[in-house]
Amino acid sequence: MKMFTHKNCFFACRLFFCFAFAAFLLQSCKTKDPQPEAAALSCNDFCIQNFNPVANWQTDSAKQKTIFLDYVNSVDGFTIPTVKQVKDGVFFLSFDLKNTSASTKKFYYKIYYQNESYKFPEQDDSTHKEHPFAEENFYGSWEDITQSFKQTEQIPADNTFHQVKDYFRIVGNPRAEERYSENGQNNRWKRNPRVGNYSFLLVVSTEEDLKNIPTYIQNIHQKNKDHFANPYYYFLFDAGKDLKSSVVQKSDYTLKVTAQPNLGSGVYISDYFFPNPADKSSYCSSCGQSPELFQSAPFQQFIDYVDASTKMYNIPVIGDVIKDNYSKLDYNWNKNFYQKDELIPTYIRTAKDHPCQTVFSDSANKKIVIKNPKTTFGDWKKESVGIITRQGLTYGKYRVKVKMTELLNKNGVWNGLTNAIWLITQGGGKWNYRRNCNNEGYMETYWGGRDDKRVPAIDYSEIDFEILKTPPYCPENTFPPIYKNPLDNSRDLKKWNVPFPDEIVNNNDDITVACTNWDMACREPKKFGVGCNPLTYEGNTFYTHRWDHWYRALTEKKLESDDELFQSNYFYFEIDWRPTEIIWRIGPEPDKMRVVGYMNDEITSIPNNQMLLIITQEYHNTKWWPGAPYSQDNIPFPLNDIFGEVYDLTIE
């Protein structure tokens, strides 16, 4: 559907360590208050205890600490924590070490962190070797990649625990991979830290034993045979766990990282979507291109890609389908009794000429309001509207609390809009390529046809909630609904006002929640299929549908009450994007979510690149949706503005 590239970024805060920690030296000292309950881990030459990886962050439960991503100044990438969150903007780590050898000596230590929520297991169940995708896990260590194991001061063999203190923070592209770097600059925003739970692994070693640890483990930016080696695998499952003079300790604490941007922080207008807007009159403090918004706005206004297929000859009717209860009779008359030369040729429009006119950030209520603008005679328009996040992430449970427009009126007639909550690739080309597709490759473009070239890797990915009036395609016997052909005989009501088929009438008040993963027709999943295929998850059967072997998207559809989703004060939609599965949920409250779509990596290629979240109220050409009962060109232009409100986005 829609492509774009990421904004350029600033690197204002890269070297803040220079002044903040000049005084914070690596040190050892006598532990003043050893915790007797903390069990010590020992090896041949020393033992350690009281490992605390994030000593300067409060716990919110026995085993977990929670921190929210700080969106201010985060366009260059998220750091965890920031100076706004803790003094000096780093986590303090500490542990106690007792030298049990015969002589005073220095010891060597390193901390590793890894996102546990969205990872592949370090060890492959079948081969008991490192999982081939474990290198994709988000893990890191010291921000300075030239820093291998750090050494303590001389610690005497005095049978006493000495506290070792240090600091670190979680940053993007922790392995300083070249694919995310440009002109020697590490663009950390291209591989942002993931949300979810982080574990911490402390490894302490003697100088002698350090020699047994491979350099690509000591230095995570180094590769072993063209692949990164996951240190968690090495130390917990491989040779690292058998080191005689080393201690490996995985912290009891996990750090939960959640993203919950302040929607009242404004909406940014990017040059990418608005290269040359004619009308900037709606710029204001909460929407525009000011430096403040550049630094703080979590969303920018989104412009849908519009192609020629959206050209329509629309009926010359302006009406409020929802409020005026445009009926099936109205629909049928308009469908039959306007001549071609009375129709309005038009494209689905966007706000590209007038940024900020149709999106508003409400700082008082911390919400974003979007609207599809109304039409007046002579200025006919069906204009899509939306917002998109500015910081890309890989994986996460994206939950939005929204009040989007109702789609059906009390007659069950559709207003032509598609409410969409979707993830899209952050674009960018090679740095954001998905994992290679090893069975014939991906279709090269998302817009091409069956004859498109297949390539091993692409950067395109998309995961959608699209909610509109269209019938399910599955099971096979139900599709397509059989629509009678009307006759434009005004003297016979029954001939032009033909009834809709039972499949449509019986679901008059329901809209379809379409859940789609654009796997770009990668045939690598072992159960890759076309047509309708059942898939069971948590006792529920979902039907996946793909039109053909070359078709780039796999879709599941579920009928839901339009009133429940869009007449209530708000509703939640959740895309749970995991390394091996995607789960779509909806519900009235976060603790009352129900699954409406499920796919896994056995049937579809799950994207692993960095994506952005989009929330839109879009007009679609119904040719995209075969079997749709209402044709977009036979739905009136909107008489009134159509509003949608976004109250919350939580990614965890």
Binding site: P316, F337, G378, W380, P480, Y483, D488, E503
Partner: protein, 793 residues
């Protein structure tokens, strides 16, 4: 979807044979070899006997169509045939004398020759090229054994070289090293028809192997012309079969019997040995004028066992009963639970370019699983929805996008003008008066005369209803927001009065309107006035009186004739309406006023030099409308329209009466500024002041295809469509324009300044309702019959 493709099955069988052959090697155990050999034989037999299976299927189809009566809707009409023996070509590099089917030369495709002998044909050189539908090519081909992918291409290109259409068909045959005949058909889409386009035929040697082409015969086919009126017809393409009663297009009906049914009492029982269900068979020409692109169907299936496998299919056979095409939707047992009705939907795209209206299309259920099952309620929809009428809009979407739209005179879209419903307390019934259900039933076929017949302070109009058996008079009481009956002794009074032409105006200048009635044939006229005032409180009745009556030459020096047209308007400029009589045969005219001595005197009369153009007053081809359309003019203007019988275009003229010269000045309205249908002989025109400006305008209603009501106004250039008229405030979605039959009566019922519309809306139950005469109204719940009042304010 599945496709009955013998080639596919044979290929599949051969492939398996080959694979098994590869597997069996000497080292294989003897037992395994025997088993595999047995399998080989079975597969070989299946391949050998496949044609019999196919023939069996074909014979089934033949059986399906055996008893059908064929009609000739159209057969393929050869527009021309050409033959190329490739003997006398000199410039074609592919020509060779190595081989030839006839003569000495052929076109050789080889490693060096990717494209062979090319035929070029200008589209305009094909007789009646505009009818071109298909092109049949027959050629002789000699292929060497390794040729697998030879094609024959038809390319259609524009003069600038742009490719319009490109298609290829395989040159395929199982025979090698001998001449074979290859036949193929190309469809030609309407968008590829243009006299300037060039057709290019050539063989394409994709693999660069060796083969030869000779004796190319090209036949251009069109569909035979059909009656031009048929093109305007809209065929019913929806059909439903509940199998309750015999229907002529259902064949193979032996299994239709009472028992378990999805609806009604009967369904179709299909036995385990029965491959085809009862089928619906139609000749394509029965429901369309051009072969359809698709057929959609649904059916309810009730399997009696668990393992049912069925296919809802469409089969096409030609007049010779050759199966041309079959395709359908297979549904297997998982979706067909035993002892339960399950609906199956299916859409089949048809090779419409290769079909003829004389071909037959059958829809049936294929019992692929050969299990017992029931079938009921088959619904079939042939083809796609009809295209909207009219020509494409000339508007540029980019202009609209850039907010530069400016309306073109008399071209859509027009700004909507909305009439609001005014409550009249009749509960939206057909009865005009509230609470009285057996009177005042306004019928659209009635005749309505509107005028200020009874004196009242507000000078509001009353409406006189002249029904077949009743005459009634009603007036609106604004204080009570309702109509009341003012009917006095009307039936008695009007009894025996036979005056086809009726006009309303205050002819006698007494402050209330009169009804002037004329019988041209019997040369008589009578003027009716009403006594007493309208009193909403007392509910008094108005009494009709004959205020004038005459026979013979009732209008001074005017001999009434059948050709006379009567028009009331203020031509003299005294703000009182005059009577204009125009003889539509010769253009003579006279303006008459009713004088104080109760005579009709000529205010003005035509002479030999100032007659009106009679063609604008021909009752069979013209329409007039007169009113005070210009506020800066002293008198009313008469507009007239006529249809040019040559080009069928509407022409308009304005007739302004020159008071000084007592003569009409005719001004032809520039056709460029009066495009479209402003008003014509089929339009009903209602003059009044519907909007807020001081001058009059008129509503023009055309119901020939749909309810199409326009507000027409006048300016310095003549007439223009100011608005398209719609309604609001109606109950539910019962927009008056949706009704099958809508009658409008305009009058100043509510206000002296603005004109309201009394709207009678009805649906007709007559099966062949012509839009005018309805013998029985149908009160649909979706659109209940009603009489309502609409007003701009």
């Amino acid at each position: 979807m599945f496709f009955h493709s013998p080639l596919l099955i044979v290929f599949f069988s051969i492939s398996i044979l080959f694979i098994i052959g590869m597997i069996i090697r000497p080292a294989t155990k003897k037992k395994t070899r025997i088993t595999l050999s047995f399998l080989l034989i079975l597969l070989g037999l299946s391949a050998v006997f496949y044609p019999k299976i196919k023939n069996s299927f074909a014979s089934q189809n033949t059986h399906l169509f055996a008893d059908l009566k064929k009609k000739t809707y159209s057969s393929r009409l050869p527009l021309g045939t050409e033959f190329f023996n490739i003997e006398n070509e000199t410039n074609d590099k592919s020509l060779t004398s190595e081989k030839a089917f006839s003569g000495t030369k052929s076109s050789k495709l080889s490693k060096e020759m990717e494209y062979g002998y090319t035929v070029l044909k200008k589209m305009k050189d094909i007789p009646s090229y505009e009818k071109l539908k298909t092109i049949q090519v027959e050629l002789k081909c000699w292929m060497e054994p390794d040729v697998n992918d030879a094609e024959y291409v038809l390319s259609i290109d524009a003069p600038d070289g742009k490719n319009i259409s490109w298609a290829f068909k395989p040159i395929a045959s199982s025979k090698r090293n001998e001449w074979v005949t290859i036949r193929m058909t190309f469809g030609v889409k309407p968008e590829a028809i243009n006299p300037e386009y060039t057709l290019k035929f050539y063989p394409w040697n994709k693999e660069k192997k060796n083969f030869y082409i000779d004796d190319i015969s090209i036949t251009y086919n069109g569909n035979k012309a059909i009656d031009s009126t048929v093109g305007l017809q809209r065929f019913n393409t929806n059909f439903f079969y509940d199998f309750e009663t015999p229907q002529p297009d259902v064949i193979n009906t032996q299994g239709i019997e009472e028992g378990i049914a999805h609806s009604g009492k009967t369904s179709c029982s299909i036995g385990s040995e029965q491959l085809h269900s009862p089928a619906v068979v139609k000749q394509i020409g029965e429901f369309c004028t051009e072969p359809v692109k698709k057929v959609c169907a649904s059916v309810w299936v009730y399997p009696l066992v668990d393992s049912a496998v069925v296919a809802l299919e469409a089969i096409i056979v030609n007049e010779k009963q050759d199966t041309l095409f079959s395709e359908g939707q297979i549904i297997n047992g998982k979706l067909l639970p035993k002892n339960k009705w399950t609906k199956i939907n299916c859409l089949v795209k048809l090779p419409y370019e290769e079909l003829s209206l004389d071909d037959f299309i059958a829809v049936d259920l294929l019992n692929k699983g050969k299990t017992e099952l029931l079938m009921d309620d088959l619904e079939i929809v042939y083809g796609e929805e009809n295209d909207r009428r009219g020509n494409n809009s000339g508007m540029d979407p980019d202009v609209i996008y850039n907010k530069q739209f400016s309306a073109e005179r008399n071209k859509p879209p027009f700004i909507p003008f909305l009439f609001n419903k005014k409550e009249i307390g009749n509960n939206n019934s057909t009865y005009l008066l509230p609470g009285i259900s057996n009177t005042a039933d306004f019928a659209p076929a009635d005749e309505f005369m509107v005028g200020d017949f009874g004196a009242d302070k507000e000078h509001l109009d009353e409406v006189l209803q002249i029904s077949k058996n009743d005459i009634a008079l009603y007036g609106y009481c604004s204080g009570q927001s309702k109509f009341i009956s003012l009917t006095g002794n009307l039936n008695t009074f009007f009894s025996g009065k036979n005056y086809p032409d009726k006009m309303v105006a205050d002819f006698d200048n007494n402050g209330t309107d009169d009804l002037l009635m004329i019988n041209k044939k019997e040369k008589k006229a009578e003027m009716i006035s009403f006594t007493s005032e309208v009193n909403c409180t007392s509910g008094n009745k108005l009494t009709p009186v004959s205020s004038w009556k005459g026979t013979g030459d009732v209008f001074t020096n005017w001999a009434l004739s059948e050709n006379d047209q009567f028009i009331t308007a203020d031509f003299s400029g005294d703000r009182k309406k005059d009577l204009l009589i125009v003889n539509a045969a010769n253009g003579e005219w006279g303006i008459y006023q009713f004088s104080a001595d109760k005579k009709w005197s000529a205010y003005a009369r035509s002479n030999a030099s100032n007659k009106l153009d009679p063609t604008f007053f021909d009752i069979n081809n013209s329409k007039t409308v007169a009113g005070h359309f210009y506020s800066d003019k002293q008198n009313d203007i008469l507009f007239a329209s006529r249809m040019n019988k040559t080009d069928k275009k509407q022409e308009y003229a304005a007739f302004e009466f020159n008071i000084a010269h007592k003569s009409f000045e005719q001004q032809q309205i520039d056709p460029e500024v009066a495009t479209g249908l402003l008003f014509g002989k089929d339009n009903s025109c209602f003059v009044g002041n519907f909007d807020d400006d001081p001058q009059q305008e008129f509503l023009s209603l055309n119901s020939s295809w749909r309810f199409d009501l326009k507000l027409v106004d006048a300016d310095a250039q003549g007439l223009y469509i100011a608005n398209t008229v719609d309604f609001k405030g109606y109950p539910a979605d019962h927009n008056p324009k949706y009704y099958e039959f809508v009658k409008l009566v305009a009058g100043n019922f509510i206000s002296r300044e603005n004109t309201a519309l009394l709207v009678m809306m009805r649906n007709c139950s007559d099966s062949n309702f012509n839009g005018i005469d309805c013998s029985e109204y149908e009160n649909s719940t979706a659109l209940p019959n009603s009489t309502q009042l609409y007003f701009i304010k």
